[in-house]
């Protein structure tokens, strides 16, 4: 099977897994928009969270959203009104990525073999605090740039005018 076909197959699983998660544990309506192969090498976003996987195929499942959307999602998940990026928000976003990746993995294991997942890694950009030489905190508007030579398969969703993207990078592992 061509890699593109494999990715399209998996995109359907990503859409199912993401919608199931939002319905069952986040209690937010999420509208599926479309799937695209993003050829651009830069993905600019406020919040990025990755879980990598390794097996017959290897790659990354990543989520990309605004800071505002991450706060909405974490607030809904925790049933608390969260207005600032805290450790809990970062933890919640990581868990969401973990659950989407785990669900996708379960769905594709039958066709593509067993895979091992990493723990999630989450990056928050925008209003990043950096330390000046005089030890004065400085707020800078930075964003995480995700650079890759491979195209991302981006499954796009929206909720209340906000966009939530789930990305997949996939490569067939070298035979041993």
């Amino acid at each position: 099977m061509e890699l593109k076909e494999v990715m399209e197959d998996i995109a359907r699983d990503i859409a199912d897994a993401t919608k199931t998660l939002f319905q069952s544990m986040i209690m937010m309506e999420l509208k599926y928009n479309h799937v695209v192969l993003a050829d651009e090498t830069h993905l600019k976003t406020d919040v990025t969270s990755f879980v990598s996987f390794m097996g017959k195929y290897h790659g990354i499942v990543g989520i990309f959203c605004s800071k505002n959307f991450s706060l909405k999602v974490a607030s809904s998940m925790l049933m608390e009104d969260l207005t600032k990026i805290t450790t809990e928000v970062i933890d919640a976003i990581g868990e969401i990525t973990n659950m989407i990746a785990g669900n996708v993995k379960t769905k594709i294991t039958t066709d593509y073999g067993e895979m091992d997942l990493s723990v999630p890694i989450t990056f928050i950009g925008g209003d990043t605090i950096t330390q000046a030489e005089e030890d004065e905190p400085v707020a800078s508007n930075s964003s995480i740039l995700c650079v890759t030579k491979e195209p991302w398969l981006l499954t796009s969703f929206s909720s209340d005018k906000e966009t939530f993207n789930v990305g997949l990078l996939l490569k067939e592992s070298a035979r041993q």
């Binding site: 544990m25 450790t87 973990n98 659950m99 785990g102 997942l117």
Partner: protein, 125 residues
Amino acid sequence: MSKVLLIDDSAVMRKIIQRNIKESGLIVNEFIEAGDGAQALEKVSANELDLILCDWNMPNMSGIEFVKTLRSLNLPQKVPVVMVTTEGSDSKKLEAKNSGANDYITKPFTAEQLRDTLGKYLMIN
């Protein structure tokens, strides 16, 4: 007095599981938390537990390593272990069962799924 050990590297997930258990009417008097399998082993030796809920993928010591180690201890009371994990494949479920886990819940879960499975081990109001 029912005492439940929650093992998950995500504090948020431990919080969500506790909230769901409380809202579902399952009776738990005390929750004890651990962030990985190694921490959990310390908690096991220091507490009399009624139930253990255990994630799979964690740093330091994974959930499955924890279950295998726990069962190898030959404790006088065999505390039931329910895996609560994103690992949902049949092969992982079988591995968990063969390692000594009693039940399995896949994340994401609904409150009903949690109540139905944990209701086998905890009293319900």
